[in-house]
Symmetry: C2
Subunit: 257 residues, 2 copies
């Protein structure tokens, strides 16, 4: 049984703790966080320690730092005496943040996590990296116990993956927010669009988003575009409509607005 310590009590920490609890070969022996009292949503971990008492670290094999990017370096500084393998979970921060430690690496799960929304970790890509081959083997063992999709990559590649995730997730979600605003303004249920958006994503990954593209801009149908533009009464939506319509027109070799 490999012993694991988790530092951090946020969304990633919550999901990793839950995932590790289901692995027969790993157990979380200690949770370290900023609050004085043990957080209520991590009941399955017996030992809780405030992060100012990091010297009370229980014997452990792997320490997972699952905190905000800006806090990783200062946490790592406090771990200088450990012989355990220390990994952070950030997509955009380089592994070298931990290079003052004897054993270090990265375990980055590519997903948008929310506490209390259980997810099947097995399908989630885990991007791993480590300071040497022995440490890499250990990170890979943990990642493979959690997920069927483990990807070894360096910090630069991981930062690119992270950026593509930000692009796709943040901006698609914002478009859904603009659409939800349109639905509210027109007394429509936004929920009606759920099966459509599920299929949009499924299709984009199955046949590719270029082949899956439809709509007036894809067809270069200026008449429908003009009609739709005239019907938009919200400035923010109108600007977005024009930019993305032009971007689609350009992508498919049609004349822009």
């Amino acid at each position: 049984m490999q012993k694991i310590t988790i530092i951090g009590t946020g969304n990633i920490a919550w999901h990793l703790a839950r995932g590790i609890a289901a692995c027969p070969k790993f157990e979380v022996v200690q949770l370290i966080g900023r609050s004085q009292e043990p957080p209520a949503d991590f009941k399955e971990i017996d030992t809780y320690t405030n992060q100012d008492q990091v010297e009370q670290l229980l014997q452990t094999d792997i320490i997972i730092i699952a905190v905000a990017d800006a806090a990783i370096a200062s946490i790592a500084k406090k771990l200088e005496n450990t012989r355990a393998l220390v990994v952070h979970t950030s997509g955009s921060m380089p592994m070298s943040l931990l290079d003052q430690l004897p054993h270090y690496g990265v375990l980055y799960p590519l997903q948008t996590f929310t506490k209390g929304r259980p997810l099947d970790l097995r399908t989630i890509p885990f991007c791993v990296e480590a300071s040497d081959s022995k440490n890499l083997e250990q990170v890979q063992k943990l990642a493979s116990a959690l997920s069927q999709n483990v990807q070894q990559m360096d910090s630069k590649k991981r930062a690119n993956v992270h950026f593509s995730a930000v692009l796709a997730n943040n901006f698609s979600n914002h478009l859904l927010a603009l659409t939800a605003g349109y639905c509210d303004a027109h007394e429509l249920s936004f929920k009606l669009l759920e099966p459509l958006l599920q299929e949009t994503v499924s299709k984009a990954f199955n046949i590719g988003p270029t082949r899956a593209q439809t709509g007036p801009a894809r067809r270069g149908d200026q008449e429908t575009i003009a009609k739709q533009l005239a019907a938009i009464d919200d400035d923010q939506l109108k600007q977005t409509y024009i930019l993305l319509t032009n971007s689609i027109l350009r992508t498919y070799g049609k004349e822009e607005l």
Copy 2:
């Protein structure tokens, strides 16, 4: 058993034919299309007729016009002698396109359909409308046989629903295409992002896209935004990044770029 005739051999026709074939109380007795020969992908329908021979219409209860928006009116003109209920399947065209007929209505399934990609129609919203209460009852019976989500609405509301679907589907898909381009340019597998995007959609519809919004623009984190902007080497992506980042900054009361 109610008899149904389908006019059109495209994506919607294919999915409706497949769905109706699974309904015990409805059967498709005739398919009408533009090709001379019966299309190979509609084998389950016995009788195929070329649309120039619409006078050879078999006895039927409901005629579904599932053709391009611009072709609906001319098809309807050829059906002036029928006593059957005639419905079109368009989101954006008004029901009044059919008002020269004695019995008419609309059966609009809110989804992006592709031939050969089977879908569970039961979860898809079917928006229905009809010229009188008896016809409405008949359209509703058919829609309810296909789906658990039947919504009665007038043509104006349906057009708004259709536009919100276009917004969400076309533009999200285009963002995925830009992201796929970024992945190609950086030798990353776009496929890695699939679980993330499935969760993005699931979260947006469960907790709402405004609450689900994350990322540097949501936080007003100008430093990360500047770093990300500097790293984008594609003009089209850069423009889109700026516009959508500003739109998010504005939505959440942060200072724009």
